[in-house]
């Protein structure tokens, strides 16, 4: 599904990614963990086209997508969420989701249709809103919602494009324990039959969701393995997890 080959990213003299190699199978739930500054978000940004790689390739479904513009990558079936909530703040939940649904249906430079009269788009939008449990806040502007609800909308917006591969950047960031539990359930529910790559600091979320985990350390992947093996790995314990978390 996704193949990353010798990926480098450099900003000026600073090398952020130093030759990442990663293979993600179809249907897999893959987590990327690592300490702050390891390059996790940069890796996401390079995969999804926000930054062009300095060197190396990102192959998605057999096509080289490295350096492609984000909208073209998104249209190929790759969706993402952001670490810091990144929705259309002044739009309502419905308008947010509808915008994504319009894009997924290829409704772009349409000057003749009446937006509020597009029934199929409306139905699809309502279905997605229901799946992220925000039906009761359909007409609430996104910026006026509680943090947890905004997180759900962030995930919902990533789903509107019906991606085959979903990249979630710290979906549990800033949420309480109970909200995190809800977020894990939500991710599990909405990513059925999808491939998932998740960056997360909260180990409960990572071990609850991931089939395999890659450990990123200062721009390099030092280990990729199943959660149990990662837990038991000494080097991982030293650099990231800490003994207390693993016991």
């Amino acid at each position: 599904m996704l193949e990353i080959k010798d990926l480098h990213k450099q900003f000026g003299e600073q090398k952020i990614l130093k030759g990442i190699n990663l293979h993600v199978e179809q249907g897999e739930r893959h987590a990327i963990i690592g300490p702050n500054g390891a390059g996790k978000s940069t890796l996401f940004n390079v995969i999804t086209g926000k930054y062009a790689p300095t060197h190396g390739k990102v192959i998605y479904k057999g096509h080289d997508i490295s350096g492609m513009h984000p909208h073209r990558i998104t249209r190929r079936g790759l969706g993402r969420s952001f670490q810091i909530i990144n929705v259309f703040g002044d739009m309502t939940v419905y308008q947010n989701i509808r915008s994504g649904v319009l894009a997924r249906n290829g409704v772009f430079f349409n000057f003749t249709s009446y937006l509020d009269g597009m029934k199929a788009i409306e139905e699809e939008s309502r279905r997605i809103i229901e799946s992220i449990s925000l039906s009761d806040q359909m007409d609430t502007p996104a910026s006026e919602m509680a943090y947890g609800a905004q997180r759900a909308l962030e995930i919902g917006l990533s789903l509107t494009t019906n991606p085959d591969l979903l990249l979630l950047d710290e979906p549990g960031a800033g949420t309480s324990k109970s909200e995190t539990k809800h977020t894990v359930e939500l991710i599990r529910k909405v990513t059925q039959n999808k491939t998932l790559i998740i960056v997360e600091h909260d180990m409960d979320v990572v071990f609850a969701l991931a089939d395999r985990i890659s450990v990123l350390y200062y721009g390099e992947i030092i280990l990729t393995d199943v959660p149990q093996k990662i837990k038991e790995n000494k080097k991982v314990k030293e650099i990231y997890l800490g003994e207390a978390t693993c016991e």
């Binding site: 999804t48 349409n110 509020d116």
Partner: protein, 328 residues
Amino acid sequence: MMGLNIKHIVGFVILCLALIALPWMVGEFELRLISQIACFSLFVLSFTILYGHAGLLSFGQAAYFGVGAYVCALAFKYVAGMPFLAAILLGAIAAGIAAWLIGMFCVKLTGAYFSLLTVAFSQFLFAIAFKWRSVTGGDDGLVVSKNPITLPFGGSIDTMNTTSMYYLILLIVVLCYLACLWLTKTPFWNMVRCCKENDERASFVGYNTYMTKVLAFTIAGFFGGVGGALFAINESFVSTDVIDMNRSFVCLMMAFIGGANSIIGSVIGAAIYTVLTDMISKYTPYWELILGCLFIIIILFFRDGFVSLLPKARALMSKWKTATGKEN
């Protein structure tokens, strides 16, 4: 459909009837002034579309108003028997093309850099109008020698007649406003709105934000061009005044006075500015100072312009009605 109710339709019909009856109610000078307001409304609309809807603050909208005016005037000058409406369309299309070309560079930038580049291109077009005297007449300007409009079933409309011109300008301006209002209800405009709200997120739901903004820029330029062409026809004269920086800033002032986020605000802004200029300049040569003060007050206290006062006025009216109803 389109959120319209019977109140809106009745209101629109009454407004149209009032505008049709206007030539019987005011003198020729006032009628010419109202035609001018209509032309400026489209000019301001071109700013409002960009700033209020697409989030792009252009300081150089006079470029497209000017291109529309000059191309229309030149079409009458150089093409024998130039059809009247074709000259207006030519001006608008030329302005749209200019906006497309300039927009391709400008929308790559954001914030202050975007605004400054719009100024640079506007000044570039001003320099052409100013220096290319053999074609544009430089600061001496060009007389617009309009041909009469030949009707398909015989007869013609006198284009030198103020009333005929008023009706023609009114018709075109109303059609442009209806087209613009329709545009804001389409999926394309949703993309424009998404780009304004959150450019990055718009890209990540699959929108080509660059092309969306270029197109919004082009559409704004087109409407500005229609306004310019109509202005040239109304004044029967075009000079570098239509394309200079002052014109761009007057447009900006009109937009903020009316309400820079509102389509209807563009008409209100153009009307208030034009009428005040006419009224105050009769009494004092320092009229610009007074308008400047008004602009400062609006920016400080009514950022959404006069259009934002309408709902407040409506609420006051209904309060007053309720109060008088209780008394009775």
